[in-house]
Symmetry: C6
Subunit: 86 residues, 6 copies
Amino acid sequence: MNRVPEEGMVLVPGGSLITRTPEEGRALAITLARHTVHNIQPDLDILLGGRPNYSTTPDSLTRAAQVVAIEFQTIAAANDYWRAGG
Amino acid sequence: MNRVPEEGMVLVPGGSLITRTPEEGRALAITLARHTVHNIQPDLDILLGGRPNYSTTPDSLTRAAQVVAIEFQTIAAANDYWRAGG
Amino acid sequence: MNRVPEEGMVLVPGGSLITRTPEEGRALAITLARHTVHNIQPDLDILLGGRPNYSTTPDSLTRAAQVVAIEFQTIAAANDYWRAGG
Amino acid sequence: MNRVPEEGMVLVPGGSLITRTPEEGRALAITLARHTVHNIQPDLDILLGGRPNYSTTPDSLTRAAQVVAIEFQTIAAANDYWRAGG
Amino acid sequence: MNRVPEEGMVLVPGGSLITRTPEEGRALAITLARHTVHNIQPDLDILLGGRPNYSTTPDSLTRAAQVVAIEFQTIAAANDYWRAGG
Amino acid sequence: MNRVPEEGMVLVPGGSLITRTPEEGRALAITLARHTVHNIQPDLDILLGGRPNYSTTPDSLTRAAQVVAIEFQTIAAANDYWRAGG
């Protein structure tokens, strides 16, 4: 099996939900969602094999965007919405 | 590849969740959702190619509206629901 | 294009999440969801063309009801659940 | 058109999210979800016509249960989870 | 009709969201979701008839798990996440 | 029936939502989601039989990632987002 590299398997890269900016928080939300998928399906060939269909199907993109939105809710709350320095 | 322009790739345009009004907060929610999609699929031709089908399918529109609703929850909380000046 | 009238394009009609009653808050939730859809698909003929199928399909109605439920969470929180005068 | 009776069109029957018990809160959650659907599709014959298929399809029931769960989140928060008298 | 027994129709068995442990809270989340379904479809034969297909379809199981996750959010908040005795 | 081992049936392994790190919290979120599924479908052969299709279908993976995101919201809130030692 062509396994996802170990850094792609870490569930919370950096080990913290705290980020300096909303932009970084948003990037973390995308990463969290992706790494969950890696942990369910760690075979890189299968992941890449599904990508051409998934990434060209609007409903699939909407579904993925929804997961990111949910992860971002958590990260934004963790950072108190970056109000202090926002 | 006909890539989405760089400003469409910024995850949090303006770098903040704070907006002056609910209307602007709502517009930001739509933008956040769209820019997530751009980051997953940055090929503008593929995005535009999927649009005729997606944007005429009620269930697809409902799914998109749901993502906006979730993003707006975060933005509204970040702005304390614009109570101060609402 | 037979475009949705301008008032249907306003994302937050009235410019506030604050309503006098839960009933009005609920109506606002429905409006927010609908106006999001208008902004994604502003062609009234396409919207009305999809309605016969959408509005007679139980799963589509359930999906729409879910979006309203999510919007209402935000509005209810904004109004502190109308506890003061509830 | 055989229209849903007026009491089925009220978005928040009783005009409040406050209930005496969790059981009543749960019943209100179901009612909120149902009345949203009535407002999107007020034709009783269409609603009843869809029911045989909808109510015998497990995924449709799960989707409906999800909407109720989301509505209940709001109602439970409004009632401070009925902690005082729970 | 072979109706779901009365105890399966109670929306909030025990009449409270408060549980002693997270494990009991999780069990209550599953029960809440199931009893919602019972109230929408109280015919036990129909429910059991759908089970072989539903319970062997991964996406259906994921959907059901999502409803439980949402119900558990409410129950966990109600119990202040069992922090006091957790 | 080749039943899921008893430890896979425990709804909240460890009996607590409190974890030392976000990484452990994330792992718990995945476990909670999986164990819900085990409790709905405890037949290991059926679960494993569905896996080849489920784990190679992008939309199924996205759906699963969404459940994990929702569970993580609860766990992250329970741990006050690991701010103290994050």
